[in-house]
């Protein structure tokens, strides 16, 4: 491999005099501690290297060694349910509580291998030569890395436990050259892994959150962004989705965020059970943590590391969801690196290629047919932290151009402790129409109708709230007062969902559908009261209203009788109010003076 000798060091950047040739973006190691770096500029007699680690103690004369390939990570069964830094180096070792600079690799581990091909079989890249199990609920395949030449199996090991860097299978390629296949292989992080075909996504990725699944659903293999100022609950929302969404595997990238949050996530995920398999959630989770106080340049790489890992599992035929918290910190790392290179800054000081980098990232989300012929998907969810909560800044505006749905968080809702603090008027989902069909096939035939009804209601509410602030609620006609009551119930009883309530932190699609229908019945009941000339406050004062607002927290999943009981009670209350109104002859004139707002 080529070498170079340092001639200048400052901060995370060094210049060196090369002997031999280096490539741009080649991965290098520096000094005795073998710090990891990347070549970012080449001249005939000088290379510039960016280091991913603390550079204290480096000096002119230290050795820079090339690796001959771009920044790559080692993908294999050993990376499941563990925690890594931004360069996929394990940081779970308990012997030293502090992150120390220097290279450490994943130690080879033993896994059980079950061969799936025989001598003489023909195999091609992306295909599987057998299954691997690591003791968790997920069985992985031993894949022939993409880019590998197709060929014929000349030797395959029997079932048994092997080290993950041991050759399991020998192939003879069509040109006669011999090749070996191991459980793990290296893949350059900035290169998307190839697929056979990209498929349209017509299934939702269910998150168990009503506000998302019912109003702004995200598709399997789709993309979503969560912009929000500080304190609006981005991280809690991402973690909640990570816990309850129906993905096979979660890749959680903590990019420039808080250490305590990562610790909390690790602790909680080890305790919680996956509702579908009954195993600890951590078994289906892989955490890449580059907290805000870890080196900035590794933060830039961590996003690519995460998506590469996600694609590796996608190629196993799994539905993978990647959470990136937060893409703004990644963009800031880009900005710092760009500034160090002396590039011309664009908007907000970010490099002009910010937009295309964001596009590259979000475009790696897809539902695909893998090279091996399976169906797999990568769904991407990115948090965005706009400075001062201002959504007009470059990262938010560019992100909006590439994502399929946007969940805009709102400081006002967060301040009233209304979680998830997604502002429906500031959010969208481009795939909702397409996903309506899925809800239809699940038996929720009114999904699309109720969804647009709720959205219209919320839109009207914001208009009427402004009016109420000027003339006061009491001065408004009954129809408008009723609308505000209905909107309040949609907010309090349906959209609000506590991530910390045992019953309500996850809502199954059936439960969402039932609650949606119940709220729909309330809207219709109120309509009937209005037609009968009954003041809408009557129903809001009835105990059934309080039961409706608290049904999410109080009625567990599966207790359909309790929901049915509320429905019956609601019908009875509406009938009673109408009857009572008829007897006392309550204001018939009150009902028709409203607008057609409902």
């Amino acid at each position: 491999m080529s070498r170079a000798s340092a001639i200048w060091v400052s901060g995370p950047v060094m210049r060196a005099r090369p002997e031999g040739s280096f490539q741009l973006r080649e991965s290098v190691t520096v000094g005795e501690r073998r710090l990891l770096g990347e070549v970012i500029r080449i001249a005939r007699d000088e290379i510039t290297v960016q280091l991913y680690e603390d550079t204290s103690g480096l000096r002119p004369g230290v050795l820079v060694e090339g690796t001959g390939r771009p920044l790559s990570v080692r993908l294999g069964p050993g990376i499941l349910s563990r925690i890594f830094d931004g360069l996929l180096r394990p940081i779970g070792d308990p012997s030293d509580p502090y992150v120390q600079p220097g290279l450490c690799r994943i130690e080879p581990q033993r896994f059980h291998f079950e061969p799936g091909v025989r001598v003489g079989d023909r195999v091609s890249p992306g295909g599987s030569i057998g299954t691997l199990s690591n003791g968790t609920a997920l069985d992985l395949r031993c894949l022939i890395p993409p880019g590998h030449p197709p060929g014929e199996v000349v030797e395959i090991l029997d079932a048994g436990r092997y080290l993950d860097d041991e050759p399991l299978c020998r192939l003879r390629a069509d040109d006669g050259s011999p090749h070996a296949v191991t459980m793990s292989h290296e893949w350059p992080v900035r290169v998307p892994r190839p697929v056979a075909a990209r498929l349209p996504s017509d299934q939702p990725m269910l998150t168990g959150q009503r506000l998302i699944d019912c109003l702004f659903p995200v598709a399997r293999g789709g993309t979503g962004a969560i912009p929000g100022g500080f304190g609006t609950g981005k991280t809690v929302l991402l973690e909640t989705v990570a816990k309850w969404c129906d993905a096979d595997l979660i890749v959680y990238v903590g990019c420039g965020e808080r250490g305590n949050e990562m610790a909390g996530l690790l602790a909680e995920f080890s305790e919680l059970e996956d509702p579908r398999t009954g195993r600890p959630l951590m078994e289906r989770t892989l955490v890449i943590a580059n907290t805000s106080n870890m080196p900035v340049s590794a933060r830039e790489a961590s996003i690519y590391t995460g998506i590469t890992v996600a694609e590796y599992f996608r190629d196993q035929g799994l539905a993978v969801t990647l959470m990136a918290d937060s893409t703004s910190r990644w963009a800031e790392a880009l900005r710092e690196v760009s500034g160090r290179l002396g590039e011309l800054p664009g908007e907000g000081g970010y490099p002009a290629y910010l937009s295309s980098r964001l596009a590259d990232f979000y475009e790696r989300a897809a539902r695909v047919r893998t090279l091996g012929g399976d169906l797999g998907s990568v769904t991407l969810l990115g948090a965005v932290s706009p400075p001062s909560g201002d959504f007009s800044e470059p990262v938010t505006t560019h992100t909006k151009r590439y994502v399929g749905c946007l969940w805009g968080l709102d400081a006002k809702r967060a301040q009233a402790r209304f979680y998830p603090a997604i502002n429906p008027l500031n959010s969208y989902s481009l795939v909702a129409e397409r996903l309506a069909r899925w809800w239809h096939t699940q038996g929720c035939t009114r999904w699309q109708e109720l969804r647009s009804r709720f959205l219209t209601l919320l839109e009207e509410e914001s208009r009427l709230e402004r009016m109420a602030r000027i003339i006061g609620r009491d001065a408004m006609p009954a129809r408008q007062r009723a609308l505000l009551i209905c909107a309040q119930l949609v907010n309090e009883g349906f959209l609000r969902q506590s991530a910390f309530s045992e019953n309500d932190r996850y809502a199954s699609p059936e439960r969402q559908a039932v609650m949606m229908r119940l709220i729909g019945s309330f809207l219709e009941g109120t309509e009937r009261l209005l037609d009968a000339g009954i003041a809408p406050e009557r129903i809001a004062e009835d105990p059934v209203y309080r039961r409706l607002t608290r049904m999410g927290e109080e009625i567990p999943d599966g207790d359909w009788d309790a929901f049915a009981a509320i429905d019956r009670e609601l019908t009875a209350v509406v009938r009673r109010l109408i009857d009572a109104g008829r007897e006392s002859g309550e204001g018939v004139g009150d009902s028709r003076d409203g607008t057609d707002a409902m």
Binding site: V9, R59, G231, G259, E261, A289, S292
Partner: protein, 460 residues
């Protein structure tokens, strides 16, 4: 500190805070140096860049009066360290760890790198133990948890100094643990005026809190580069107390705005490209290296809790300093000028305040089973009360519905009886009693955040 290597007559250029030396010795990046002037004065510095011929030193002390000839440079051969040991409590230091109280130098048991090392996320213990400050607005509504970093966003002229001192004086572990003497305070004044420094020192001595406190004082007149070191020395002391002596340490840093100003100044003198409002582009990462030093480590007893105080320039919460701070810290406590004018103390503006870790450190087995629900209900109702107040300012109080008038009364009583407490120190239980009493004035049907049992038990 021991001198490893000494270079004489090697300085060939000085420019602002930078000193350029001939590279006659084999030294490494980021190592500390001591520059001794011809007059015998010693200044600290750090190696910022190296090439084949020269060494660039960034001076951490004022470089005025430095000459090229007659300067001796001692290379310490390692990054800057703080030598700490038993006897740290009760002492007063300047911004770079030199005793200011006339006492003897510290018995140095350990030498810690002042920059620290990032704690591995996997080695952290998630914070879940409550810490009481004596203010209901914090304890009841935005509970502080050991290992958390919770800044106070203040403004010029607001009583953040008094709040800092009160918290330093009254903060305590919950009753069952308070006897063990495991609690300590590290108090760092960063770029504060002489009067404030005297105020802190006097108040601490008067109340006897100094015995469990380490005080670091960096005055407004000290050099800017030194200001960047003060919180690092303070946090190094805190880490020693927490992870070597097993104490629960509360670090109060005031005022972080001065720190950021110093960072901007130093960055400008290095000729770096400025980002928002002239602050360097790495302000976020730099602040994170301070704030992220809060936490607990699995298997070790102590904890480092941070309560940084910063003054928002022009009360603007979107200014880069509070904005970036809020993105790193686990919540924020915001002070309010209106409440202060109405002589409410502490003037904490509740709605934008938040403690992210409250959910982990409160509730059954931590504080009180109904504490989180009570806080959530008070928050929701108070938020409605604020809306009613806006409405009242438009249509007048008489034009309000009975419900809104009730909310208005609740809002006033809440601010007067619960948030404001003057000089009184209040326990969590006392604060909770007041909270339940205030909610009793409202119809239970409007209390959506409480379950039926809680309503029955506390509000009947």
């Amino acid at each position: 500190m021991y001198a490893r290597l000494v270079g004489e007559e090697i300085a060939y250029r000085a420019e602002g805070p930078l000193l350029f030396l001939e590279r006659s010795l084999d030294v490494g990046l980021n190592e500390a140096v001591e520059v001794e002037g011809a007059d015998g004065s010693v200044r600290l510095g750090r190696i910022a860049a190296l090439d084949l011929e020269s060494v660039t030193v960034e001076m951490l002390d004022d470089s005025a009066g430095l000459a090229l000839s007659g300067t001796r440079v001692r290379f310490l051969g390692e990054p800057l360290r703080f030598h700490v040991g038993p006897g740290l409590l009760g002492r007063i230091f300047d911004g770079v760890g030199k005793p200011l109280d006339g006492g003897p130098p510290l018995a140095a048991a350990r030498a810690y790198r002042v920059d620290g090392h990032p704690i591995k996320p996997s080695a952290r213990e998630a914070p879940d133990q409550y810490l009481e400050t004596g203010f209901s607005a914090i304890d009841l509504m935005n509970s502080l948890v050991r290992g958390q970093k919770l800044p106070i966003f203040s403004g010029g002229g607001l009583p953040h100094d008094r709040i800092a001192v009160d918290i330093a004086r009254n903060a305590r572990l919950p009753d069952e643990e308070s006897e063990s003497g495991e609690f300590a305070i590290v108090f760092a004044g960063i770029g504060i005026p002489h009067d404030s420094a005297e105020f802190f020192r006097e108040e601490m001595e008067k109340s006897g809190a100094l015995a469990r406190t380490v005080l670091f004082l960096n005055l407004a007149s000290d050099s800017s580069a030194q200001r960047l070191l003060t919180p690092r020395f303070a946090l190094t002391a805190a880490e020693y107390l927490a992870f070597a002596e097993g104490k629960h340490v509360l670090v109060i840093l005031t005022d972080l705005t001065n720190y950021c100003e110093a960072l901007r100044e130093v960055s400008a003198s290095r000729g770096e490209i400025p980002s928002r409002k002239g602050y360097p582009g790495y302000l976020y990462s730099d602040l994170a290296t301070l704030y992220e030093r809060a936490g607990r480590i699995r298997g070790l007893l102590g904890s480092v809790t941070q309560l940084p105080i910063l003054t928002m320039p022009n009360d603007d919460i979107t200014h880069p300093i509070p904005d970036l701070t809020g993105y790193i810290t686990e919540g924020q406590i915001v002070l309010d000028r209106d409440l202060h004018r109405r002589a409410h103390y502490p003037p904490i503006r509740l709605l934008p305040s938040l403690s992210r870790l409250m959910k982990d450190g409160t509730g059954r087995g931590r504080t009180h089973a109904d504490h989180p629900a009570l806080a959530a209900q008070l928050y929701a109702t108070y938020s409605q009360a604020r809306q009613a107040r806006v409405l009242a300012s438009v249509v007048g109080e008489d034009g309000l519905s009975e419900r809104d008038r009730r909310l208005l009364r609740f809002g006033d009583a809440f601010e007067r009886d619960l948030l404001a407490q003057g000089d009184a120190v209040r326990t969590l239980e006392e604060g909770m009693d007041i909270g339940w009493r205030l909610l009793r004035e409202l119809p239970p049907g409007e209390l959506h955040r409480l379950d039926d049992r809680q309503i029955h038990e506390h509000l009947r």
